[in-house]
């Protein structure tokens, strides 16, 4: 696990500095939300370190970070959106991640990701209801 001198052998990534708020980019190079939290899987063995299971994105994950009244308000909006679409919280499985850099590249299509739920909701519920929304821009 560790190299000579006790230093970890693999690439080191600072979770807050290098993951939180990073842009998610789908397999076609389209923007797919931002990382708001990281979900770990914790083994029953207390000596086994937690492993990153998924990246969390969207209002629900952001609400956990913010906390307080505003965080609870954001969480209520997320729950409302989730209830309408009968979806689990926005999570991107670690197995869908291709690389970490100035953005985080995914192997998935953004339309298949829950992280894009808010944008889809705005498009379907608000933008599409605007008169003329069905016509292409002239």
């Amino acid at each position: 696990m560790n190299g000579p001198g006790g230093e970890p052998a693999g690439r080191q990534v600072w979770a807050v500095l290098e993951l939180l708020d990073r842009q998610l980019v789908d397999r076609d190079g389209r923007l797919a939300g931002k990382i708001d939290d990281v979900d770990f899987v914790v083994d029953d063995d207390p000596d086994a370190p937690p492993r990153v299971d998924a990246l969390l994105s969207g209002l629900g994950a952001l609400a956990n970070q913010i906390g307080g009244d505003f965080g609870r308000w954001l969480a209520s909006i997320e729950r409302r959106l989730a209830a309408r679409r009968d979806r689990a919280p926005s999570r991107i499985a670690w197995s869908d991640v291709k690389s970490i850099g100035s953005s985080v590249e995914l192997a998935a299509d953004r339309d298949d990701l829950d992280s894009n739920r808010g944008e889809r909701w705005v498009r379907d519920v608000i933008i599409d209801k605007v008169p003329g929304a069905g016509h292409e821009a002239e």
Partner: protein, 105 residues
Amino acid sequence: MKLSELLGVTVVTTDGEELGRVHDALLVQDGPVGAQGFAGLRLHALAVGTRSFGTKLGYTQGTVKGPWLLRAMFHRPPTLVPWQAIVQRSASRIVVDRRRMDEST
């Protein structure tokens, strides 16, 4: 367990010494390779300290190098608490074994 559940939590030793709060988590990419050929990340250690501003800017972690004046002001190596040193964890407090910390570093 979520990262947000660790950030900001007070860390104390089994002797009662307060080390500060969790400001960041050091992950190491040495896990099993996934479907995309990208290795998994494990939580190696928590960066703990009494000041957070240098951490937010990246000076504490050492990933931001300049300008030299800001580096001199904010670059204080964080106290790294290896995951194996944690003996108790709750929503408001993490208790660590100082001897295990010393053994791991």
